[in-house]
Amino acid sequence: MTTAPRTLYQKIWDAHVVDTRDDGTCLIYIDRHIVHEVTSPQAFESLRAAGRPVRRPDLTLAVPDHNLPTTARRDSAGNRIPIADPQSAQQLEALERNAPAFGIRYIGDADPEQGIVHVIGPEQGFSLPGATIVCGDSHTACNGGLGALAFGIGTSEVEHVLATQTLLLKQSKTFEVRVEGTLGAGVTPKDVILHVIGVIGTAGGTGYVIEYTGNVFREMSVEGRLTVSNMSIEAGARAGLVAPDETTFEYVKGRPYAPKGEDWDKAVAWWKSLATDEGATYDKSVFIRAEDIQPTVTWGTSPEDTSGIGGVVPAPEDFADASKRDAVKHSLEYMGLTPGTRLTDVEVQNIFIGSCTNSRIEDIRAAAEVLKGRRKAGNVKWAIVVPGSGLVKAQAEAEGLDKIIMDAGLEWREPGCSACLAMNPDKVPAGERCASTSNRNFTGRQGPGSRTHLMSPAMAAAAAVTGKLTDVRDLAPVI
């Protein structure tokens, strides 16, 4: 049988179709489901009310991350330090109850493997190339860096997957984002994805699944690919994909849940077959030159409001579209920025290095490299580095990075979502700015009135040192 050339997305989709309905909706099998404390309680409540079990608890993993404070969770006697917010405490307790009651493996709030859902999936080898992966958080797209079809779902879909291990879905269109050339010094995966979003816009990927192609992604580490795919959501797409290759296999091999022995060989053979076929077509493509990408920051309240660090705050009139002009006007008011201001003149009072976008070991290393031998600027009031998982934390400590970070005057915290979203104690005060490695700069995202500038870990570390948005390449060498 000959089949027409297919894209990576179509191959993963085809391998997971359980049933096709007349209107083209498919019942898609879900290989991996990660559950956290915020979007799951009502799903478990419904299952309980209907007397329904979880179909495949063995394909499900539960871990708390969103609500947890990133300060110590146990006292010296090993007792839990209570969570101040009673509702957060309640959601954590609900997950602690629900996971074992439904036979689901549970990683506890103080376990060494605990961490942000999208960090621990790949880290544990639970997330695999070619798999369908869901979680009740939109940045599940992160896992696409492994070449997995991964996307966020709502509470009723969480319930649907728990009960049936499937989801009803319509196929998306495919969007190729090709980046080729040589990245300049100081240009990281975060800069690549911020630049891409600046080019295609936050609606650019709506209705599509993005596949990232070109030598820049081929040469990127898996950590970097996870960062890129993570922000597919901000580009409007439900999911992102990077084809699995030797770099991916190397990353996955030997992780706790990764296939072993004969299964491993079978897996690699299948993964190799997933790359988009010669002659397959995408519904849409964009080509970006790597040389055009600078260390990038956002200035507004939409992730598409990006600029190279050498730029200035734009004026509403710089935009052709009337509704965008209006949005920019509001956004500049909210951000307290005047058009024409050089970005490197913008002062920041808070630094957040963390979130599922940038909290893996490479990110901590990049921040530490900048911070080494330097000190946080006096005007920076609050600066935290939050590892994505307990294992990242342990690795960083083994490398002495925690020491470098604390010597520079930044705090070294326990793993969790932290200041990515204002749901736990880590918040940015109203009217203050934060140089942040997270993924959303929306109004109020880091706390009511907070002003977020998105950037890479190295750039956030540079901002910590100077107290302003800074081109990391311009920092004077440490002598």
Partner: protein, 199 residues
């Protein structure tokens, strides 16, 4: 899910247009762990307005809500449907609904009935003092005064609502198809078909 074929009784004459989900249930109610109790937070801001229909004893526990155009717009929170259910509302009548809201309502067994504005105006009048009757089987809304309005509903949704079938239940009925996929995957993709930590 409760089968729903006939909703009869008092109808809250709300009538407001563009009611977004933040009005139905404000964001600070989202950190809950159960669907129950959300009725307390429903229309929290409206309840503070003098003379509002939600704190008026006349309509306490009414099963029907009559609203204006574009009901349920804004954020996709499913809590909006849960809050209505918790108030005892199982049917909302309005000129139009946001897609996401009507999907969430359907998933939770709430009937959304779209009728032209003139019909809504008439029902708003009637509801002040009299009950309203909604029959899903015949797709009609009637009043004690011989008013009779017919409405459209997707055949699949009607079937599900009439029989109390929820999406999860429907998919579970396809358990055999899922089982045979799993059996096939065990051979073809054994590394995906299980997730275990090797000893």
């Amino acid at each position: 899910m409760q089968p729903i074929s006939h909703v009869a009784g008092k109808a809250i004459p709300f009538g407001r247009k563009n009611v977004d989900t933040d009005v139905i249930i404000p964001a600070h109610w989202l950190k809950t762990i159960t669907r129950e109790g959300l009725g307390k937070g429903a229309f929290e801001a409206v309840k503070k307005e003098p003379g509002n229909v939600f704190t008026d004893e006349t309509w306490a526990g009414a099963p029907i809500l009559v609203a204006g155009d574009n009901f349920g717009c804004g954020s996709s929170r499913e809590h909006a449907a849960w809050a209505l259910l918790d108030m005892g509302v199982t049917c909302v009548i309005a000129p139009s609904f946001s897609d996401i809201f009507s999907g969430n309502a359907f998933k939770n067994g709430i009937l959304t009935v779209a009728l032209p504005q003139e019909a809504i105006d008439r029902l708003m009048d009637v509801a002040r003092e009299h009950p309203i009757d909604v029959d899903l089987d015949t797709q009609t809304v009637t009043t004690p005064f011989q008013d009779r309005f017919t409405f459209e509903i997707d055949a699949f949704r009607k079937h599900c609502l009439l029989n109390g079938l929820d999406e999860v239940g429907l998919t579970m009925a396809q358990g055999d198809a899922i089982g045979s996929y799993e059996a096939k995957a065990k051979d073809a993709l054994p590394f995906l078909a299980q997730a275990t930590v090797a000893a």
